[in-house]
């Protein structure tokens, strides 16, 4: 298993735990009074699960298991692959911080985090598609 796949899969597991933890906390609303920033964390929780866990796990396993691109670069451009991982995760973290922040106390910093999150996650998705495309082929 390549090093980057190990990063992807272990990061995905961490997000899974965090997503379920946050889901449990949100489910406690009404039982325990929650601070305002948690009450608006629903979309962030969904994305921790769908992007942080599901999509990230897929990226990691596909990077490992898809047919080789070339003999010289079996998994495509290594730098692009690392940048894809970095963009996806920085983008997701920016969302998790920025979205509740923007909802509770809108401002330039929180809004900037959301803009950065949108751009970074998009770059992560496009980077993966660019890496995977030539590897989706017959033998």
């Amino acid at each position: 298993m390549p090093v980057l796949t190990r990063w992807y899969v272990k990061t995905a597991i961490l997000y899974l735990v965090v997503a379920l933890l946050l889901g449990a906390v949100l489910a406690g609303n009404g039982v325990v009074p929650l601070p305002a920033f948690l009450l608006v964390a629903g979309p962030a929780q969904i994305h921790l699960f769908v992007v942080g866990w599901l999509t990230q796990l897929i990226f990691g396993i596909a990077y490992w298991m898809f047919p080789k691109a070339t003999a010289q670069q079996p998994r495509g451009n290594d730098v692009l692959a690392v940048l894809t991982y970095v963009c996806l995760n920085l983008g997701l973290l920016a969302r998790v911080i920025g979205e509740p922040w923007q909802a509770v106390a809108p401002g330039v910093l929180a809004g900037g985090l959301l803009v950065a999150s949108g751009v970074l996650q998009w770059l992560g998705g496009v980077g993966f598609a660019v890496l995977a495309w030539p590897r989706v082929r017959g033998r």
Binding site: V50, L54, T55, I58, P67, R95, G98, E99, Q102, P106, A110, G111, G112, L113, L114, V115, S117, G118, V119, Q121, W122, G124, G125, V126, F128, A129, A132, W133, V136, R137, G138, R139
Partner: protein
């Protein structure tokens, strides 16, 4: 990787980029306080990311990985898998078009997706079996 898997996985990659693009536009809009009505894009974003990307990727990889009955010949059920690919993507297009506010188009899309799921099941059902090399 068989041709139908190539088409399914590449279609999934296209849906990934489109779905992430819609999501990014909505998130940026939220960040700069613009495009207030863009929350209408949520159903399109979800359709592209969940059905177009994740489910379609799973289908494409399943058609690639599941044991094939003929050791050398084309896998049985290949015609059904092409039907599944065509219907699945048509259904997604209809659901997205229907998200603009035409419930009948959206319903048609969902029914086409249902047909695609049945076709996919027909394509892989007989391939869900022991491969002969698995210990379990």
């Amino acid at each position: 990787m068989p041709s139908v898997s190539i088409w399914m996985v590449r279609s999934a990659l296209v849906a990934l980029v489109l779905g992430f693009s819609v999501g990014a536009i909505m998130l940026i809009g939220k960040g700069i306080g613009a495009f207030g009505g863009l929350s209408a894009g949520i159903p399109i974003h979800v359709e592209l990311v969940v059905l177009g990307w994740m489910v379609q990727l799973a289908m494409g990889v399943a058609l690639w990985i599941l044991p094939r009955l003929g050791a050398r010949g084309p896998a049985r059920g290949a015609a059904w898998s092409w039907v599944a690919w065509a219907l699945w993507n048509s259904g997604i297009v209809f659901v997205i078009a229907g998200a603009a506010g035409v419930p009948a188009v959206r319903l048609s899309g969902r029914l086409i997706e249902l047909s695609a799921a049945i076709a996919f099941g027909a394509a892989v059902w007989s391939r869900v079996r022991a491969s002969g090399i698995s210990a379990m």
